[in-house]
Symmetry: none
Subunit: 414 residues, 2 copies
């Protein structure tokens, strides 16, 4: 079973938009056990799309297209699909009603170009797009499947998960593959590899381990290939148990968990609350915490003291600390955390203060120097790091490290 | 002059790595006036690379490859290039000396596989890689150029800028292409298209317009093709002027600007400051503002009043407002903005309060209801929106809308 992905849009060839869709689709197809052997990117051009469609039908069983379905003149995909499949556009009443309801809800007038969104090729099955106005399309020709979806990532992902995967599973019988992902923080890839070398070396050949590093975290993905899901699941569980025994302190979750979700679960389970006092993270720590639905039950808020005068006036950091130790210091970040906890009346508080850069570094406190403190009901800890010289990554790493420090305190307090 | 890009590596097909190289190369070639008409991604496979090379020679004048040049066994590109060009690997003494010097500097032993890095196809010109051990390669065959570079982004970029571009400019005389990107916010793609329909319809055939939508913003990209850069630039300027005349109120910047950069420039130019009082945006508005280096000169901080008790105690919102109007109300969001401006001693303040969801909605204030206020030295404005039912996008749209409301106030105050 071979698949290929066709990404459509001049903006991709021009490099103005980075194609993240095809990587995501590649991962999803792989999880199903479908091998993606080719990807191509083409512009909004009739000739090239037609040629690519003919070639793809020769070399692949599943062809997944994204892009070119918007309401504007440069979007041609739907018309070219009609030509390729020798069919015509007809109005789909359910889609039209849906598009109309979206405009009604947003209190916007419908334009003629929006009506066009409800026109679909007669022979396709419509893939419902509950996040937008352009429906996806599913075609079958000579037992090959052609899928066309809009290029907007969140629309495409939802259509793929809710509509495409079930249809593919119905049409084909895929081999058994199961995956298990273990999420670690606060440890680098090569150190992790060294710690779990014995486990990795003893894996049977039908079970693969992949390291997927990202800023501040490494995901370990186990994939087991075989014929019996139950047997594979048992094998994976045994390996996962041994990973927990070996590197449990670094594991903050599984599958799609985020650190803020894990922290949120721990707080909610103990009926505890947290607040934040941010300087160098500039609101990003609060953003991670509040990205989680329901976070208002354990998160009260943040004092973002970007200017020192706010640290002094609102966070009540002693002026002498700011003068003698500076804002990027153990004394300051501990005062920020402790005062935040008191002012916000919470059980816990996280504080950050550092030099995110690119300017502001000194010889003693170079760009990347970051202090993080966690205040708990019984004590306050602080750690210093060098997060490197990239502003965006320093902000991200600091926020994640702050969450992981809180996670460890919550577990220790159990 | 047509170019294509071939990205090589199993990790790209598996989706474990997002291909950012090809977007960057696409941008660079476009700036040269070379049209990238096709991109493909293939695995580390002899057959597929050979086939792709033969096809690329049929359809393109410049073929740029990245990846597959590492010292490990799965990297095959160099051997397949020898096969394709009917040549053999020979040792390049300069490269060998360079590789040895790198290992010496890092105090690491040379492995046999590292010596391999100095073996290059006899007929190629070596492209110097001053950031790594794998050299790039430049081949000419039937007046077509084949370029092979390592996949590590910073190595590739340096080779391309320092070695590839000068060689291409020496070999070809390029036509002119120039681009201009106009950035708009607070208006949807189809409404924008309607407003500028007359301008779009009257574009000459050598000037193309593309709509590039993202959450809360639409970029308009104009591309002009011809022989004389100066003539094209004048033509584009005339069109850009007419766009400003038609939709100027929605335009927040050009090229790679972000809304927070545009707002930051306006604030810095007037020596003004801003603070934020966030509820539903949960720190994301602060994060956007503080993502910009140097933002500490105009941004003092935020009070993130997620819980009502913080709105009352720290932001000093009248308890009666919270009881009678609720936190998601014009009265509350205006009080938040005005008090924030006063407490933080800034010229401006932005406040947000809304129901981000998924729960917390009522019939009167459904999920997605958001109030945004901007307090200025002379007045305070507030607007209400329905941002839809997706938590993450509501947060993002609200933050961007708040920035755009501030931008308009800053321009009006000029």
């Amino acid at each position: 079973m071979k698949a290929e992905i066709i990404s459509i849009g001049d903006e991709l060839l021009l490099g103005q938009v980075i194609d993240t869709n095809s990587a995501w689709i590649g991962q999803e197809l792989n999880k199903l056990g479908v091998h993606v052997h080719f990807k191509s990117t083409i512009g909004d051009s009739r000739e090239i799309l037609l040629k690519t469609l003919h070639e793809s039908a020769e070399r692949s069983d599943i062809i997944v297209m994204t892009g070119g379905l918007g309401p504007t003149k440069d979007d041609l995909t739907k018309h070219i699909l009609c030509e390729f499949f020798d069919t015509k556009l007809i109005q789909n009443d359910a889609v039209l009603a849906w598009v109309q309801s979206i405009f009604l809800k947003r209190n916007l007038p419908m334009l003629a170009s929006n009506n066009e969104q409800a026109m679909v090729p007669e022979i396709c099955e419509v893939l419902w797009n509950r996040n937008g106005t352009a429906p996806g399309m599913y075609f079958v020709k000579n037992n090959k499947v052609f899928i066309s979806m809009p290029g907007v990532p969140f629309e495409m992902k939802c259509i793929f998960e809710e509509e495409v995967i079930p249809k593919l599973q119905q049409q084909f019988s895929f081999p058994s593959i199961i995956h298990k992902t273990i999420l670690t923080a606060s440890i680098g890839e090569s150190f992790l590899a060294k710690k779990i070398a014995t486990i990795e070396d003893s894996l049977p050949s039908h079970i693969k381990l992949a390291y997927l590093p990202s800023v501040g975290a490494v995901r370990l993905r186990l994939s087991a290939y075989g014929n019996d899901n139950r047997v594979l699941a048992e094998e994976l569980n045994t390996i996962v148990d041994s990973l927990y025994a070996c590197i449990g302190e670094y594991i903050y979750g599984e599958e799609e968990d985020t650190l803020s979700q894990s922290v949120g679960k721990l707080l909610a389970a103990k009926n505890n609350t947290v607040a934040t006092a941010e300087s160098c993270t500039g609101g990003y720590l609060a953003h991670l915490l509040t990205s989680i639905p329901g976070s208002s039950s354990y998160y009260t808020g943040s004092i973002l003291a970007y200017a020192n005068v706010i640290k002094e006036n609102i966070l009540q950091v002693d002026k002498n600390i700011l003068i003698q130790n500076g804002a990027v210091s153990e004394a300051c970040v501990k005062a920020m955390a402790e005062n935040c906890r008191r002012i916000m009346h919470t059980d816990y508080a996280i504080a950050t203060s550092g030099v995110a850069g690119p300017s502001g570094g000194t010889k003693e406190k170079p760009v990347g120097t970051v202090w993080i403190a966690v205040a708990t009901p019984t004590h306050c800890i602080a750690r210093v790091f060098n997060m490197g010289d990239h502003r965006g990554r320093t902000i991200e790493r600091t926020a994640l490290m702050g969450l992981d420090m809180l996670r460890k305190e919550l577990i220790a307090a159990k």
